[in-house]
Amino acid sequence: MVGVVLVSHSAGLAAEAVALARGIAGADAPVAAAGGMVDGGLGTSVDVVEAAVRSVDRGAGVLLIPDLGSSVLTARLLEEDGRIVVADVPFVEGAIAAAVAAGAGAPLAEVLEAAEEARTFRKL
């Protein structure tokens, strides 16, 4: 299965978004949180993101979903062509769409596509 990592400035935001995504996608979906600094403060830590990637990497690739700013920059530092990919998608909606697709066993390209579709979901 493809792994999904939610990268946020906030440990709490990343953890809760993972809980929500797994609640909807199923507890087996390999979704991990990478929020905040090593000391728990606000910010983005490449060490925290790398550890999260390792925790969900089952060989089928990993999709990184950053919130904004340095989360995007840090996620992009870890990109590996065709294996570790950053999605330019809304954080919560993209995370849920990616988690559902990943949990259903879709390959990386389809998980990315599912997340990108979340960009155009209308709420009203």
Partner: protein
């Protein structure tokens, strides 16, 4: 010898950033999240610790060590951006270091920053100081300038580039959320980039 020069660059940059920490943070408070001065000071302090703890063998290694440390230790956008600048420079820099070789490595570093941040000249970012500095260095190399003259010109170009961000509207980073309200403030990333170039001119000039 050249290794010591690069270590001295980071020592001087740390001194200048620390001396200007409150100004950088004030600039960042105006249009950002008020952490640029403290983040960079903390990151550079870690760089000096790392360089002292496991002394690199070459100037290129000083740069890669500094870049990797900034990426790992700075939680804000300046960590990945400055980290990429120095890491890419370290990768590209050949030994023995010449002015032309340094200018080429610096240009590659600036391109790495532009790629990572997807920023171009005029977006009101550190690129507005780094790119003019890179161009000044390339011109100085072309004209066969002395090292001290070339680095002085690069430092001036960075300083002028930073001041030129004042009337710009930000198109990247947190300041871009402010739209027109970002006009009238110097970009803190450009201001710190100018300090890095001033530090280099001061130790190698």
């Amino acid at each position: 010898m050249e290794r010591d020069l690069f270590v001295a660059w980071f020592e001087e940059a740390t001194r200048l950033v620390r001396a200007d920490r409150d100004r950088l943070t004030r600039l960042d408070a105006a249009i950002g999240d008020a952490d640029h001065g403290t983040n960079l000071d903390r990151g550079l302090t870690e760089v000096l610790k790392e360089l002292a703890g496991s002394p690199p063998e070459s100037g290129a290694q000083v740069l890669t060590t500094a870049g990797t440390t900034l990426i790992r230790r700075v939680g804000g956008a300046s960590g990945p951006l400055y980290g990429s600048l120095f890491r890419q420079m370290g990768k590209a820099l050949e030994t023995p270091v010449t002015l032309a070789g340094f200018a080429g490595a610096f240009e590659e570093g600036v391109v790495a920053v532009e790629r990572l941040g997807k920023a171009v000249l005029g977006d009101k970012t550190m690129v507005d100081a780094l790119a003019p500095a890179s161009r000044a260095l390339a011109l100085a190399v072309r004209d066969g300038a002395e090292v001290s003259v070339a680095l002085g010109q690069a430092a001036r170009a960075a300083q002028e580039g930073s001041k030129a961000t004042i009337p710009l509207q930000a198109r990247k980073g947190r300041a871009s959320y402010l739209g027109e309200r970002s006009v009238g403030h110097e970009d803190p990333g450009a201001a710190s980039a100018a300090l890095f170039m001033a530090a280099l001119a001061s130790v190698a000039g």
